[in-house]
């Protein structure tokens, strides 16, 4: 038992210190009301977000490595296929070591929703909701909601149009935004807690068709703010995923309830 504890400490400290000198702090985000691309109800696209905390940057490979060392059931090869697909962490050199092309400061990708959810729970946190993510991602460097500014929109659209081709750079390579958080756009896509809340019909098809029966309640959601393509692309991507899927450009960060630093 004593040997086990010693080993545990050694593993934890080596993974934590050498490769990863900064911590991924939770930043306090004041709540507010904003216009979402996904309206809660037809004709009303104002959404209230309560105060919350969110991690400054996406979770890195080094951070995720520390997790799988502590929770071996989430190592590649051990995580069951109910929770991950065949590409889970496949860029890593081994289940417990990184590779040159997936370095310690790069955001971890090829993680499923279940793995991301388990990581955040291990941190005493949770994944952000879609509205929380959309709320902080509406900011540019100087204002909380920059979405109406054509220049900013053009900037993020140019990344979305090339996403997938370029190698993924380290987190925090671009300046932080108004909320002091990094990489909401321009680096990776991110899981949200309620990714499976999207019931998007691509266009506003006629009501009453066979597809309509798929949805109980008030019918399918149609998306507002059609000019806001960048964020709509995120929605479209998330709505096509199953919780066990992983992709090369999809990572996550964690959030917590509340308005103050822990």
């Amino acid at each position: 038992m004593r040997i086990f504890i010693v080993l545990f400490v050694v593993v934890a400290s080596s993974a934590g210190s050498a490769e990863h000198s900064f911590s991924n702090d939770f930043v306090s985000i004041p709540g507010g009301v904003f216009r979402s691309v996904i309206p809660e109800a037809e004709g009303d696209n104002l959404v209230a977000v309560a105060d919350f905390l969110v991690q400054e940057a996406p979770v890195t490979n080094a951070e995720f490595l520390r997790f799988v060392l502590h929770r071996p059931e989430w190592q590649r090869g051990k995580a069951v296929s109910l929770f991950v697909d065949g590409q889970y962490l496949s860029a890593w050199a081994s289940p417990i070591s990184l590779a040159p092309r997936s370095g310690p400061r790069q955001p971890v990708t090829q993680v499923s929703w279940f793995a991301a959810d388990a990581y955040c729970e291990w941190q005493g946190a949770r994944l952000p909701s879609w509205y929380e993510w959309e709320y902080v991602a509406a900011a540019n460097r100087s204002v909380a909601d920059a979405r109406a500014l054509p220049g900013w929109r053009q900037e993020i659209l140019s990344w979305y149009s090339q996403a997938g081709g370029e190698p993924i750079v380290d987190v925090r390579s671009s300046p932080e935004n108004y909320y002091q958080i990094f990489d909401t756009h321009g680096l990776i896509w991110e899981w949200v807690d309620d990714f499976n809340a999207f019931l998007v019909t691509g266009d506003n098809r006629e009501q009453g068709g066979a597809d309509q029966l798929q949805f109980c309640g008030a019918g399918a959601i149609t998306m507002q703010e059609k000019e806001n393509y960048a964020v709509l692309m995120r929605v479209a991507m998330l709505s096509a995923l199953e919780a066990r899927y992983t992709t090369r450009n999809l990572g996550f960060r964690c959030a917590r309830q509340g308005g103050m630093e822990k």
């Binding site: 809660e40 109800a41 009303d44 069951v80 296929s81 109910l82 929770f83 929703w113 279940f114 959810d117 807690d193 309620d194 499976n196 809340a197 999207f198 019931l199 029966l213 798929q214 949805f215 109980c216 309640g217 008030a218 019918g219 399918a220 959601i221 709505s239 199953e242 919780a243 066990r244």
Partner: protein, 197 residues
């Protein structure tokens, strides 16, 4: 001497208890190891219409039909239940006795055990083979995740959700599903029959 005898029997009793505990742990958690894609790998608890709490695997050993619903849903959810009953009616008595049904609420705040029991009574389903359950609210996204169900609560308290009826084999692997409501899906029925034999 009598004291010695007592302590010896105490040791024996403790040893027996330990043996029993370790045996029962091995039986319940790992009796036969689960397939990697079994939904029973998801460790969550659910509370049924009587307030009894179990894992998702309460019907392990039987083929199970699963759906996600909520009891105050006006149209589609009653259709989900009647579709399952319609499908069941195409089975023989022996087949039906072997099949289990679990409907999982996406509205655990309002769907209390009492509410679930009322709904079961209203649809006159057999409590020996059916259960209507709710989960911890924090586990619901993961449960929907394993079943591929999408749902969203609306400001008025209603939900949008996709409707699927899923067939699990005896070990909890999803082997078929249908989105057809109001009539029985012939291919799905065949899959159910095959799973029962």
């Amino acid at each position: 001497m009598s004291c010695r005898g007592q302590s010896a029997s105490l040791v024996a009793t403790v040893a027996l208890i330990l043996l029993f505990v370790s045996l029962s742990i091995a039986q319940s958690s790992d009796g036969e190891s689960l397939p990697a894609n079994s939904v029973y790998n998801l460790q969550v608890s659910v509370e049924d219409q009587f307030g009894d709490v179990t894992g998702l695997d309460r019907y392990r050993g039987h083929p199970v039909l699963i759906t996600m619903f909520y009891t105050s849903c006006p149209h589609v959810c009653p259709m989900l239940i009647s579709t399952i009953r319609l499908t069941e009616s195409k089975l023989s008595i022996e087949e039906r006795a072997e099949l289990r049904v679990m409907t999982i609420s996406i509205d655990p705040e309002r769907d209390t055990p009492e509410k679930l029991r009322e709904t079961m009574e209203r649809h006159s389903v057999e409590a020996s083979r059916w259960s209507m359950v709710r989960s911890e609210p924090g586990d619901l996204r993961a449960i929907a995740g394993v079943f591929g169900v999408r749902y969203k609560q609306l400001p008025d308290g209603e939900f949008n959700h996709t409707t699927r009826i899923i067939l699990l084999d005896r070990d909890g692997t999803q082997i078929a599903s249908t989105g057809q409501l109001g009539r029985h899906d012939a291919a799905f029925l065949e899959a159910i029959k095959a799973s029962l034999h």
